[in-house]
């Protein structure tokens, strides 16, 4: 009886450990950062990766790799990460056209957290 109890606890601990490890592994695969902050061309825009891929139920292949690479801040280097491109349906503009997602011609501060928002995140 006693042995049974001990082994049960042991199994519980082990499975807990296993669960914990796979979870963090999965998280790593899906991108370690839940929120990506853009500072180019302007300070600063916040993109909630977790909300987009989990809460809004958008599957990975809609964004990867047609719209974005799987590398945070890669898109900032392209030189056309701006509203001119968005209005042509590129990047965030593929969805934020007022149909699939909210439009970009108002509510600027839903995306733009500004220099003050950036300071709060403690990033440079």
């Amino acid at each position: 009886m006693k042995i049974f109890k001990i082994s049960l606890i042991f199994i519980l601990i082990l499975s807990g450990l296993y669960f914990f490890m796979t979870n963090s592994l999965l998280a790593e695969q899906a991108g370690s950062e839940d929120i990506i902050i853009y500072t180019k061309p302007v300070k600063a825009v916040s993109f909630n990766h977790k909300a987009h891929s989990e809460d809004y139920g958008i599957s990975c292949n809609i964004c990867h790799d047609k719209l974005f690479q799987m590398e945070a801040s890669n898109v900032e280097k392209k030189g056309d990460f701006n509203h001119k491109s968005f209005s042509k349906g590129k990047y965030c503009g593929a969805c934020h056209d007022g149909k699939k997602g909210f439009a970009m011609d108002k509510q600027c501060t839903r995306c733009h957290i500004g220099a003050k928002g950036l300071n709060k995140t403690g990033k440079k």
Binding site: P41, V42, Q107, T109, R110, G114, A115, K116
Partner: protein, 248 residues
């Protein structure tokens, strides 16, 4: 009376729809420009441009050019490029500012929960800072209406800083004088450049600098139209400011 610190959290900004179009038309017909700021649900200020808002009642706009700025408040994204441009152009030290951006939370809003608003010297027609200055170090330019500083005359008593309803002045340790926005007069306008550094630097076209006495200017057109509400900050101060805010 010492004005309270400019506190964006407690500044109520009127929504464009809060004053019906017919009402605005009526006021405009009566010679009022609608510069409403909602306070507890009431329109606080309907400044008469001809009589109340400007020092001279004969002329609508006493200065030539009558420099002013229109700010599309809801377009501001706090990227601070205007502030950076101002600092560079006018040698503003890190502990002061000639223009800044205030932020406030709109917790009850369903969607957008943050708002930004740029502020700067309002180049008031009845400037409390000028009235308070004991040495005439700060004065209103007779031609263009800009509230100027004569650094040599400033004794650093900071009376003007306390009197300013807009927190638009700071003491500059390097030049031993109070400093403030002069619409880039010294650094740009006097050299023939048409606009301020902040207006030029803004990537979202938030700041429109112009001549309020010129009926062809965007500032003039926006202040005189009736479709959208245009407001000023702290109209109750009676200073008759020349910075106008709108949305759009």
């Amino acid at each position: 009376m010492i004005p309270k610190k400019l506190d964006f959290e407690n500044l109520k900004i009127e929504s464009p729809d809060s004053l019906p179009k017919m009402e605005r038309r009526k006021f405009l017909k009566m010679g009022f420009a609608v510069t409403g700021l909602l306070a507890g649900g009431k329109i606080l200020s309907l400044l008469s441009i001809a009589d109340e808002s400007f020092a001279s009642s004969k002329e609508q706009y006493p200065y030539k050019p009558h420099y002013s700025m229109l700010i599309y408040q809801n377009r501001c994204i706090d990227c601070e490029l205007c502030m950076e441009a101002c600092v560079k152009t006018n040698n503003v030290p890190s502990y002061g500012y000639r223009t800044t951006i205030l932020k406030r939370k709109v917790p009850k809003a369903v969607e957008q929960q943050v708002e930004f608003i740029p502020i700067l010297c309002n180049q008031c027609n009845r400037p409390p800072c000028v009235t308070g200055c004991p040495t005439k170090a700060t004065y209103k330019d007779k031609q263009n209406g800009i509230v100027m500083m004569n650094y040599k005359k400033c004794i650093g008593c900071k009376t003007c800083m306390t009197a300013c309803p807009y927190n638009a002045r700071y003491y500059n340790e390097e030049i031993h004088s109070v400093d403030k926005c002069d619409f880039c007069f010294a650094s740009r306008l006097s050299k023939g450049i048409a606009t301020t550094a902040c207006a030029e630097a803004c990537p979202a076209k938030v700041r429109i600098f112009g001549d309020l006495a010129d009926s062809g200017s965007e500032v003039y057109r926006m202040v005189h139209q009736v479709e959208k509400t245009v407001w000023v900050i702290r109209p109750e101060s009676g200073a008759a400011p020349n910075i106008f805010y709108t949305r759009g």
